[in-house]
Subunit: 246 residues, 2 copies
DNA sequence: CTTTATCCTATTGTCAGACAAGTAAATTTG
DNA sequence: CAAATTTACTTGTCTGACAATAGGATAAAG
């Protein structure tokens, strides 16, 4: 007899399970106990081993706490899943979730010959031509972000960026489906606004901006995109869950 | 017969396993394959199920990639484990690891009656007295950080902070062992330097600082400490691994 | 000889069932 | 009534199995 479940769509069982679990955790008030592992596993239609693998990842995010002999409890989260820096999503996606309208003002697309620094960062050869997309993002009639993406050759061309481009390179690649994205390594910096950026964001040169410097990787570990994002402080909230080591 | 392993010290099997795995991943060059799960499990003395739980957490951090039918591969990491924001450690601990000397200049300890905002933040009653510790951290003869911790009553007293206090409330509580710490929820902000802080850090008022606003939780989910940390840009690197949702 | 289809093997993905260990409440005992 | 014990339930871990996948080896077809 066959005990296993067939994989009907291309989402892995584990990924679907993660989504389900995230929903359950989110809907459970902080402090309350979850169903026991055998119960949950049964009701979700997976084995306890698979369920436990998924639980680990949520424990690592500080969303639940497990106590042997007692149970698994939901910690105080308040939309960590949505607002946490650890999930990579575009500003558009984040803004839409909270019902805000996002517009793109000023868009500049051009090719840049990569100098030695950029070549090293992106893992391409010097003098290869990368595509650079710069734009200002407006939310609720205020400029809130200035974004610059530098994308390795062969991923996008100008055509992709001309019709129906909403301002998010990330969303564009995700919608395309290839290459399959994995994660980004993001450095967090405080930076005074350079004059060109200050002008486009209608602020003073030297005003304080939060900058996220990110390298985007696909599932094979290849670098796809080097993205620099400048944010007006206070408008968006960036949070991280930091766990005690050991 | 007993198949299980006894728990000799108070580190859980899983936690020890995580440390071992982190070491192995770190020592394996990027792109190379790890031993197969059955081999690794055997050589680490754990079952494959337990090993897989630990693997999941590293996969979630973008450190490894697993491919069914092929194997598990190490991605390009470069000390993510050490410098990543997702692990909570004191500046002292981070600086010591890279061989830098840390000194504390200016230390101020006093009690503050919590107003309505602070009480709400820390989950204590209004007018309860919290302890506030402010200090400047010098590294290599330069002020690099200004730290303010506000700690709920009953955790520390002035005595703890007078003898042998090195500047890190976090390390102090960890060394103590109680309460057992779990994680912090940290907000990342760009902030101009307030004049009092600017003076103590020998910079200009309004200069750009990176600020980390953190709430520290113990394992029961109780808030312990509200910590505000201001950093001179460029000296420390703060990185986050962000994963694609779904 | 080249190309295509098939088989084989190693690897991760998932499962079922078991026992160990910790916790809290109920029960028994003094 | 208080302390000790039992009991029931929970998470932690182990074992051994089979499913699904991918890549190389091998055989068949042209």
């Amino acid at each position: 007899m066959n005990h296993q479940q067939p994989n009907y769509d291309n989402l892995s069982l584990f990924q679907k399970l993660q989504q389900e679990l995230a929903r359950i955790i989110e809907e459970t008030p902080a402090g309350e106990r979850l169903q026991s592992e055998p119960e949950l596993a049964a009701s979700l239609g997976v084995s306890r081993a698979t369920l436990r693998e998924a639980m680990r990842s949520f424990e690592g995010q500080g969303l639940i706490r497990r106590r042997q002999g007692v149970g698994t409890f939901v910690l105080d989260h308040r939309q960590n899943i949505e607002t946490g820096l650890e999930v990579l999503e575009s500003i558009e996606t984040q803004a839409h979730r909270v019902g805000l309208d996002v517009k793109m003002g000023y868009l500049d697309i051009n090719k840049v010959k990569s100098d030695v620094d950029l070549a090293k960062k992106l893992g391409i050869n010097q003098d290869e031509e990368a595509i650079r997309v710069s734009r200002v993002i407006w939310v609720a009639d205020r400029p809130v972000a200035f974004l610059v993406d530098t994308i390795i050759p062969g991923i996008l061309d100008e055509k992709d960026l001309s019709n129906g481009f909403t301002g998010s390179v990330l969303d564009l690649i995700i919608k395309r489906g290839k290459p399959e994205l994995s994660h980004s390594k993001t450095e967090v910096i405080a930076s005074p606004a350079p004059s060109e950026i200050a002008k486009k964001m209608q602020i003073q040169r030297g005003d304080v901006l939060l900058k996220l410097d990110a390298l985007l990787f696909d599932k094979t570990g290849r670098m796809i995109d080097y993205s620099q994002s400048y944010f007006i402080p206070g408008f968006m909230k960036f949070e991280v869950i930091r766990s005690i080591g050991k």
